[in-house]
């Protein structure tokens, strides 16, 4: 699964730390999500999408490998 979280953050001009504070997770978790090493839970993904005011599918996208 790929995401464009970093781009969205840049558009909205908030840092990882600020985003982490808004949704009550650690900055570490945001970093691992952005680098693709961690897949967030549904609740976390929905919270992130709400912060940016976009639907979840615009931030997180399924890839071929997710279906194997």
């Amino acid at each position: 699964m790929k995401n464009n979280l970093r781009v969205q953050r840049a558009i909205k001009e908030i840092t990882q730390a600020e985003l982490a504070g808004l949704i009550n997770v650690s900055r570490q978790t945001i970093n691992t999500i952005e680098s693709g090493k961690y897949v967030p839970s549904t609740v976390l993904a929905l919270k992130i999408a709400r912060i940016f005011g976009k639907p979840v599918e615009e931030i997180f996208e399924l890839e071929e490998i997710d279906f194997s």
Partner: protein, 292 residues
Amino acid sequence: MKSKYLFPTSCLGLGYFLAIAGFILGYLTIFKNYEIPGFGFNLREKGNFINGTFENFTNELAVFFVIIGLLFVAFSRDKKEDELMARLRLNSLYWSVMIYYIIYNFGFLLINTIEEIPLIGEHLHELNIFTPLLIFIIRFFYLKHARSDHFLFNEPRFLANKPFRLIGVALTCIGIIPMVIIACTEQIFSSDDLIFTIAYFIMVFGLLIWSFSKNKIEDEGTMQQRLESLQLSVYFNYLVLLAATLLFYSLGYLFVLMFAQFSLLLFFVIRMEYVRYSNTKILNTFEGGIGA
């Protein structure tokens, strides 16, 4: 949450076979003094009173079979290895480590009574080796099958960060220092040494509290790290144990068994702290990219 570091599904059958064979062989070795004839080689130049020249490896083989067999049974990939399975594994790992160490700590206090029990009392150390794996397997299979229609189980609960993390770290250090001093200044120590025993008990208790307390910042990412760390520390613990089984004999092996009692928690704590340290380093050197 996803499970990593699992064996392929085909290992399950092999695991059952090895474990059962190992248990039978172990039973024969310990209780019937059976040895596979000729299965060994001349280890020492000159025999002394305690050890002859020829060292038989049947009991090492039994330990090998049991440990590798149980590892395969416990950690083979299931046919549907998904997020639910990962939660089951975390719950089972949590249970097995906690129950094993609580039993072990209370059993430690009652060690004099337990040693009186015929058969089990004398071989406590050997039986202790695979108990965490057994508890894991029992709990994991129970969750998979007995609760298969609703899968309702509690999230593992951890102690609050303040004050328990500090208490755990403090107790571990308080316990380790006398042990190291005694071990360095005396060549051979007996377990009757009261200070050593008390320090050992404090250290293990401290490690237990440290392992089961929350980090300062606790979220789903850290829970995933916890699952991985538990998994890896189980593997590493048994790897060390298997290597030691090959390299150490008689008295040296008893020391190894004693180390194996708490090494799982030690590895877990070390790995968690290492992950936390390296993550902090990454965050500090690289400020989150665009618009940071």
